[in-house]
C-alpha cells in the first residue's frame, strides 16, 4: 500500500529515461535548421519552466520576475567569457551561483509578502533589474553584448553552424532540472514546499520552517534559471536587456509550467512542448504581417487552457491513478 509513492516514482524515472532518449534522438534525422532551432528553444524552455516550477509550482510562490535570474545568468557567463576569458562551461555554474544568490537576496525581503503582494513585488524587482541593466554602461547598456565567434569548441559552447551540439547541451540542462525536481519531490524539502503551498499555518505547526523553505526553493529555482540564461546567451550569441530581462520574458518562463501543470514533474515539459511551438509557428506564419493575429491566437490559447484545464495539460495524461488528479 504505502509503496504506491515508491512505485510511482520508479515508473516516473523509467518514463523520464525513455523521454530523454527520445528527445536526444529527435532532431538527429531533421536537417531543417528552423525545426532544429524550434526543438532547441522548446527544450530550453522546458528546463526553464521546470526551474520556475520549483518555486512557483511546488512551493506555490508565484514569481513573475524570473527574467531577472535568466538575465543575470546570461550576463554573468557572457561577461566572464568576454572580459576574463572564462569558458562558458564554467561560466554556466558561476551564472547559476550568482542568480541563486540574487534569488536569496530578493527573497529575503519579498518572502515577507504573501499572495498577490508577493507576485507584484516580483514583477517590480524584475522591472528594476531591467531598468538598471538598461542604464549600466559596463554591461553594454541598451546596446547589449555581442559574443564573437572564436572557433568551434565544446568548452566554450561555440559551434559555427551545427545545431545538434546545442541541442545536447540544452537537453542536458533540461534533464538536470527534471532530475532535480524528481529528487526534490521525494525529499524533505519537496514535502515542506507542498505543505507551504497548501496551508502555511498547518505547515508551521508541524515544524516546517516557512521562510527557510521558500528561500531554498528560490535559490534552486533562480540558480537553474540563471544557468538556462547562460546557455541561451551562448546559443543566440547576443544579449541585451530587451531580449533577456524584459518583463514578458518572466511570463514566458512561467507559462509552460502553469499551463502544463504546476507542481508536477511533467507539466513544464508538456506545457513547453505545446506553447513554444504554438507561439513560434504562429509568429513565423502569422506574425510577419505585424497584424497581431499571432498574439490573439497565443493569448486565446492561454485563456482556453487555463480555464479548460486548471490542473494543467498534464491532467490529460491520466495514466496515473485516477484519484491523483482531482476533477475540476
Amino acid at each position: 500500500m504505502a509503496n504506491a509513492i515508491v512505485k510511482r516514482r520508479r515508473q516516473e524515472l523509467v518514463v523520464g529515461g525513455v523521454v530523454l532518449a527520445g528527445l536526444a534522438l529527435l532532431p538527429v534525422p531533421i536537417k531543417d535548421v528552423y525545426t532544429q532551432n524550434l526543438i532547441i528553444i522548446t527544450v530550453l524552455f522546458a528546463g526553464l519552466a521546470q526551474a520556475w516550477n520549483i518555486l512557483g509550482g511546488y512551493c506555490g510562490q508565484i514569481s513573475l520576475g524570473h527574467a531577472l535570474y535568466f538575465g543575470i545568468g546570461s550576463y554573468v557567463s557572457t561577461l566572464l567569457y568576454l572580459k576574463l576569458g572564462i569558458p562558458p562551461t564554467l561560466g554556466l555554474f558561476a551564472a547559476g551561483i550568482v542568480a541563486g544568490a540574487a534569488a536569496l537576496l530578493i527573497g529575503w525581503p519579498c518572502f515577507r509578502l504573501s499572495g498577490h503582494y508577493y507576485a507584484i513585488a516580483t514583477v517590480v524587482v524584475g522591472e528594476i533589474g531591467y531598468l538598471l541593466f538598461l542604464n549600466w554602461d559596463f554591461v553594454g547598456g541598451a546596446t547589449g553584448v555581442f559574443i564573437p565567434f572564436k572557433g568551434e569548441s565544446w568548452a566554450e559552447l561555440q559551434f559555427k553552424t551545427a545545431k545538434l551540439p546545442y541541442h545536447f547541451v540544452v537537453l542536458a540542462f533540461a534533464a538536470a532540472t527534471w532530475l532535480a525536481a524528481f529528487w526534490l519531490e521525494g525529499s524533505r524539502w519537496g514535502f515542506a514546499w507542498r505543505a507551504v503551498k497548501d496551508d502555511v499555518v498547518a505547515a508551521r505547526s508541524l515544524g516546517v520552517n516557512i521562510f527557510a523553505s521558500k528561500m531554498a526553493a528560490a535559490a534552486l529555482s533562480g540558480g537553474f534559471t540563471g544557468m538556462g540564461g547562460a546557455l541561451y546567451a551562448q546559443y543566440v550569441g547576443y544579449i541585451d536587456p530587451d531580449s533577456v530581462l524584459a518583463g514578458h520574458f518572466s511570463i514566458l518562463i512561467a507559462l509552460p509550467a502553469v499551463l502544463g501543470g504546476v507542481g508536477t514533474l511533467w507539466g513544464p515539459l508538456i506545457g513547453a512542448a505545446v506553447l513554444i511551438p504554438a507561439s513560434e509557428l504562429s509568429r513565423s506564419y502569422l506574425g510577419g504581417s505585424g497584424r497581431g493575429v499571432d498574439l490573439m491566437l497565443y493569448g486565446g490559447l492561454i485563456v482556453l487552457v487555463a480555464l479548460a484545464r486548471p490542473q494543467g495539460l498534464v491532467s490529460l495524461f491520466n495514466w496515473r491513478r485516477k484519484s491523483d488528479v482531482p476533477a475540476a
Partner: protein
Amino acid sequence: MSPLLEIRSVSKRFGGVAANIDISFDVRRGEILGLIGPNGAGKTSLFNAIAGEVTPDSGEIMLNGQRLSGLGPVACAALGVARTFQVVRSFDTMTVLENVMVGAFLRHRAPAAAMRAATDIIGFCGLNGRIDRPAWGLSPPEKRRLEVARALATEPQLLLLDEMLTGLTPTEAQSGVQLIRDVAARGVTIIMVEHVMEIVLPLVERAVVLNLGQILTIGTSAEIVRNPAVIRAYLGDRYAA
C-alpha cells in the same frame, strides 16, 4: 514528578479585548486535560499561545522546564508540542500518506524512514484504507483523523486537540473518543478544547474552565459538573445566545 507543561500568569490582549487574564495551571504528564468554557472564553487564544502561534503579553509557558512562549510554532513543534485545528487544515493536494509524512519529516530526515513512521501512524489512526487518497476527498471525520495522525507523526509529548469532536455524529464522536484514549495510551499528554461539556467531561481526568478570559475553576469532572459558577457561566451563555 514535575509537570509536563506549566502555564504561569499568562495574559494576552487583542486590541482592546482581553483574551486571557493571568492564567496559571499545570498539566501533568500523561493526563488528558479538558479546556472548556463558553464561546469567547479565551480557549483558542490560550491554545495558540501554547502552540507558539501567539506570544503572550506577559507570563510564561514552560514545557519540561523550558520556556516555550515567544519561540514560535516551528520551535514549539520541535520541542514536542503538536496540535490540530478547529477548522480543519489539511494539505488538500497531497495524499493522506504525504500529509502525515510532512509531520514525520520533523524527526526523520530520510524519506524512507519518514514514510515508515507515517505508515505506522496512519494505521494507528485507522486511515489505512485511505492512505493513497488525496486529502481533499476525505470525509470530515476522516480529515479530523488525518490531522491527529499528522500531529502524532511529529512525535509530540503534548498534543493539543482543538474541538476535535465538535460537529460529529454520535457514532463518529464515539470512535473519535476511542482514538483519543488510544493516543493517551501511547503516553502522549493531551489537552483538548471543547465547547460542549458533555463531550469532554467523561473523557478527561481534570478540566480547566475558562470564562471571560479568566480561570473559573480547575477540578475533576465530578467537581466541575457540581460547581455552581460553571453552571451559571454555561446557562448564562445559553440564554444570551
